[in-house]
Assembly symmetry: C2
Homo-oligomer: 321 residues x 2
């Protein structure tokens, strides 16, 4: 397989959403807004700011509208929200301040699909046209697809690569049949089963079958391989990554396995920039955001560069410099 690093990566910052969602809190609306505004000032151009989920199910996200109303939109930054159903989408639209993107999601784990959505694979596919119709009714283009648990699942074990390739083909076909075109396909390592070699294998297979789409990776760091997996993705030319500032989204020291969040944004930015891959992000400002995030949640977060430091200051102070 080839090694062909992208020259530029695009990062979707998920810290404020995925991160604060899991925190016991309470985290004040003002603190959330403060972090989001600080993130938007780093050069990050896509920030998922909150979840429009049922306030009784996720009390920490009950202030979704207030968060969106309170942030100071920065030109060039896409602010998005997560929704899981029509009611959520309507709430997002009602804010009038969030970027809307239609997205299809398929589960590669049949057991996880059953558990989360009480559907079998055929029912999952059958449900997509209605979703597309919902987007179309609101004039929202459907451009992205996502495969959940694409690398393995705690409830279903290893996921065959053919199943992932098949699901991507299915979702593209369904989209096309309804006048939509998926240009970006995300692969989620939801439960941290991936290894770098597995990333290369699955990404390679999806690329071979879909040379005309861009891929993105959503990598959880539960077993510590997040950045190694991201590097493997970069080697395959993947240029879109989800990440969470400071590694928000879980405490690595929690006693349950599902605890770790996405790859840490500033660690990933550090790795990319040091390898000559442009991120558009000011690492020093992002480190300040990571320290702020840790301050807000009130416990250690797993990102390392926020304590290890960048190399810029060290290079500047060396005798010969």
């Amino acid at each position: 397989m080839m090694t062909s690093l992208p020259t530029r990566v695009h990062i979707k910052e998920e810290g404020p959403r995925e991160g604060f969602q899991i925190e016991k809190g309470p985290i004040s609306t003002d603190q959330k807004i403060r972090l989001i505004d600080a993130l938007a000032d780093t050069g990050l151009d896509h920030i998922q700011v909150t979840s429009f989920v049922h306030p009784q199910k996720v009390p920490g996200m009950a202030d979704a509208e207030a968060v969106v109303a309170g942030l100071t939109p920065r030109p060039g930054v896409l602010y998005t929200g997560l929704w899981l159903n029509q009611r959520g989408l309507e709430r997002v639209i009602a804010t009038g301040r969030l970027h809307l993107e239609g997205k299809l999601t398929l589960y590669a784990s049949n057991a996880f699909l059953k558990r989360n959505q009480n559907r079998d694979p055929a029912q999952q596919l059958a449900a997509q046209p209605e979703l597309i119709a919902m987007y179309q009714a609101h004039g929202i283009p459907v451009r992205t697809g996502f495969v959940t648990a694409a690398f393995g699942c705690n409830f279903d074990g290893d996921v065959p690569v053919d199943r992932v390739v098949g699901l991507v083909a299915d979702m593209r076909a369904i989209a096309r049949d309804h006048g939509e075109d998926l240009g970006l396909i995300g692969l989620g390592d939801t439960m941290a089963w991936a290894t770098p070699e597995r990333i290369r294998h699955v990404v390679g297979a999806v690329q071979d079958a879909n040379p005309d789409v861009a891929l993105s990776l959503h990598l959880h760091d539960t077993r510590g391989l997040g950045l190694a997996n991201a590097y493997a993705g970069l080697q395959m030319g993947v240029a879109h990554f989800d990440a969470a500032v400071a590694g928000l989204g879980g405490c690595p020291f929690a006693a349950h396995a599902g605890a770790a969040g996405n790859i840490c944004t500033e660690d990933f930015v550090f790795m990319c920039e040091e390898m000559g891959i442009e991120t558009g992000v000011d690492l020093e400002k992002l480190i300040d955001c990571a320290i702020l995030a840790e301050d807000i949640v009130g416990h250690p977060l797993p990102g390392k560069v926020k304590t290890g430091g960048s190399l810029a200051a060290l290079r500047a102070r060396r005798p010969g410099a």
Copy 2:
């Protein structure tokens, strides 16, 4: 550059030495012995158990002799100790229980060399024959070399790859001139300046110039790239790695940059085994050691698989299995 993973890796476990050295402690001799004996029971076949350094400089290592006397040697396991000078070596020899290997170490950072050893590069080279003579006087073969700060240095900035290649050539020539042959060359990312691409570049250059020696990597995780760097090393065919159980050797939440330890042994073993690379280590037993290590130091340690869990149990419990 090629991607050619080794089929088997060899791990030198440094947790008990590098890890306990940095802990404020006090950690009892019994606890140290307990961890070492447990590690020897996992299949790890090389464990660096303690440092023979001046007890007033490193009080936590004052019990070096007692640790060695107390462990239960397991057949097939190499137990080694660290020494920095003739007095240390004599103490190691006096234990009568440690594997002895002569090792030459050169600093790739001139500023760090000056700071730590008060030598310039020429003085560093000039000092090596005396070291070889010391080993030879004790009948210890000199088979390994090590380059400190091979990828960059907080005090010296980026380290040119030619300097590393030159130092390896120098140490091999000095060894040869004195009847010794270095078969294993270690490259140390002492201050965590490496990226995966840098690993590939430097390892590749050293390999090209030394096709007849094996390389090992000693990777600190201060900036979170430890396992990504290890993966890059594996891709280059590197089959020898230093590691520390649970990531012992520093607390990632310490306020100073030099705080992080080596790559975490169980996370590395997990990555290798999941990619089909044999380690000879029982991961479940090693996870127990990591939990024990955390227990002993009394604060969270950075390894992730010890909380995230291996995949073996999850595979076993899935419906179809």
